[in-house]
């Protein structure tokens, strides 16, 4: 088991009120899963995704990555785990606008202090796999939406993480491009045996996922 969440509760404080986002979630993510989290806005899927990606800590419950409890680790330790083992794809791409495609993809490897030759090898590989080899020197604003999301996927996968967290990766894309991105993510997941947890509203995306988890009002329905 790659990721195990047990009895997860999470609330937010909004204007003096406590708003429960997750009301006791149990979830197991297996190695190599290509899993979709679906649910309406405000259902808690983004909160669940943040907890899976160690971006946030639960109020109650435990999160195990492999066999280790990681849910309540200090921020620094969670950061180092994210750096080594977790990749992220965001709805708005979240690329650094002043960095070229090459440099955006290189960023996570720089954080890991990987030697230059190894970095370049990894970047060449992932840009090739995502069809971006010709765009290495382009800035994000010189690319289409689909190309930008490819860069984001390349950035998430370049460090060969065990887990990729994707938050609405096709939400800002047209139908054709969204299909391409779904295919690409699926291919890469199969190639590298990488686990994907994807929050999405997109039915096409859900259809390509081996597991679909429905979340509503802070609980898992199915």
């Amino acid at each position: 088991m790659l990721l195990t969440l047990q009895g997860i509760k999470k609330s937010y404080h909004l204007g003096g009120n406590i708003v429960p986002a997750l009301r006791g979630i149990d979830l197991m993510v297996h190695h190599g899963d290509f899993m979709a989290l679906m649910g309406p806005s405000g259902s808690g899927k983004s909160t669940l995704l943040n907890l899976c990606g160690l971006l946030d800590v639960p109020d109650e419950g435990t999160i195990h990555l492999d066999d280790g409890e990681v849910g309540q680790l200090p921020e620094r330790a969670r950061t180092l785990i994210r750096r080594q083992r977790i990749g992220f794809v965001f709805q708005g791409f979240n690329l650094v606008p002043v960095l070229t495609v090459h440099d955006n993809v290189e960023y996570p490897l720089l954080l890991s202090a990987m030697p230059r030759a190894a970095r370049e090898e990894r970047i060449d590989w992932i840009l090739g796999r995502t069809g971006l080899s010709r765009f290495g020197h382009h800035l994000p604003d010189q690319l289409s939406g689909g190309q930008r999301q490819r860069v984001a996927i390349a950035r998430a996968l370049v460090k060969r993480p065990e887990l990729v967290i994707a938050d609405e990766p096709t939400a800002n894309l047209d139908t054709v491009t969204a299909t391409e991105i779904i295919d690409l993510m699926h291919e890469l997941a199969c190639d590298a045996a990488t686990t994907f947890v994807i929050a999405t509203h997109d039915e096409r995306m859900a259809k390509r996922c081996a597991r679909v988890i429905h979340v509503q009002d802070g609980v898992i329905l199915s």
């Binding site: 994210r82 992220f88 002043v98 290189e106």
Partner: protein, 409 residues
């Protein structure tokens, strides 16, 4: 290296804002360097002037400095010629000359005025150059004619008060070293200006020999030693003290700086003024960079969240902003050096004069020295201030919860 390149790119993200910040820094650097350069020039000129006035090393009886004389040359220096010869054996010494300080009454026959006089060896001025501006006539002859008139040169205000000119006859009246009265007729051969009104009303120069004859003494007030390099003063003074002590025990030795009350006062005031100026400019640069970095941090909150999600530690985020501030500081330093250089050459070209300071008759050229060590210090100060400002601003943003940062709009 990559991080520095990224910092450059981020600085260029909002070119106008970064340029304005760097420009403020550049003006700060230029202000500090210009002020420090002006102070350095003033220190240098004052030092030079003081050294020529007092000598670089001064040898006298210790009581000459600490006690008031009841009679002229009561604490005078004997055997000064032998001491001067011994001093001149040091290769760092350009010349050692004696001086007598005395006073008395100067009369044109109908009117008398109090004077302050220096008996000097004119050969000194071949080494040091003239320390007084001769307005009319000439300086004292190096070898006055034994049969000729006693020569005297007068401060311009003194000459004016007595209504005498070059060629006029005057009478010097003094108290001798034994307390008797003595007088000598003299011919005015020159009129000078010191630049100081009060001195010009009182000061006159005679030859050393004239002064000794008037005061009926074989002593001098002090021996003034001029060096090839003024900066050797302390070392030469120590060496002379050691070497001469055996033969002439108990002599007093001082350097020009001990004598230079005015130089030390001016330096203390300037240092204080420029320290305050430095603090003010530092604060302005600090707030300017803080403001720029605050805006950059605010605009890039989501980006900070993204980078944190990718595995950047808060310290790495802060480092990136600090590097960006360092890049802007570098721009400020380069701009500041450029402005300073242009100012230096501009002032040289324009040959501007400063107005006369209080109690002085003449102004002085407005010049700025470029002091490399000061430039280095100011550059490092600006760099430090910019980096501190960036650190202060970005530290909190880097520690903001990632989820909150990612949701920032």
């Amino acid at each position: 290296m990559k991080w520095i390149i990224f910092a450059f790119r981020n600085v260029l993200r909002n070119r106008r804002r970064s340029m304005v910040t760097s420009l403020i820094g550049a003006v700060g650097v230029a202000s500090l360097l210009t002020a420090a350069g002006f102070a350095s020039y003033s220190y240098y000129m004052l030092k030079l002037y003081t050294g020529i006035e007092s000598g670089h090393v001064i040898i006298a009886q210790p009581d000459f400095w600490t006690k008031d004389e009841d009679l002229p040359l009561q604490y005078g220096l004997k055997d000064y010629q032998a001491i001067a010869s011994a001093v001149q054996q040091d290769k760092r010494v350009a010349i050692a000359v004696a001086r007598i300080m005395y006073n008395g009454l100067l009369s044109n026959g109908t009117k008398s005025m109090v004077f302050l006089a220096e008996g000097v060896e004119p050969r000194q001025f071949q080494i040091t150059g003239p320390t007084r501006t001769i307005i009319k006539g000439r300086f004292l002859a190096e070898h006055p004619d034994a049969q000729g008139d006693v020569e005297v040169i007068l401060g311009q205000k003194l000459a004016k008060s007595l209504k005498v000119d070059v060629g006029s006859g005057v009478t010097l009246m003094v108290t001798t070293s034994s307390g008797a009265l003595n007088a000598a007729d003299a011919r005015v051969v020159g009129i000078f200006s010191t630049g100081l009104i009060e001195l010009d009303k009182r000061l006159l120069y005679t030859n050393l020999q004239t002064a000794q004859e008037l005061l009926q003494t074989d002593k001098v007030s002090k021996l003034t030693v001029f060096l090839h390099n003024m900066d050797d003063s302390d070392q030469v003074m120590q060496d002379l003290h050691q070497r001469l002590e055996a033969r002439w025990p108990g002599l007093g030795y001082r350097t020009w700086e001990t004598e230079a009350d005015y130089y030390r006062s001016v330096k203390a005031i300037y240092n204080r003024v420029f320290s305050i100026l430095g603090i003010i400019i530092g604060v302005v640069v600090f707030f300017s960079v803080s403001n720029t970095m605050s805006m950059a941090v605010l605009e890039r909150t989501r980006e900070i969240g993204t980078l944190r999600a990718l595995g950047a530690l808060p310290g790495q985020i802060v480092r990136n902003f600090v590097l960006e501030a360092a890049v802007m500081a570098l721009g400020a330093v380069i701009g500041g050096l450029l402005i300073t250089t242009l100012t230096i050459f501009g002032l040289q070209w324009a040959d501007l004069q400063m107005p006369p300071p209080p109690m002085r008759l003449v102004g002085y050229p407005l010049r700025i020295y470029f002091a490399p060590w000061t430039a280095l210090g100011v550059s490092l100060l600006v760099l430090l201030v910019c980096m501190l400002a960036a650190y202060g601003v970005s530290r909190r943003a880097a520690r903001r919860p990632i989820v909150e940062a990612l949701a920032h709009v």
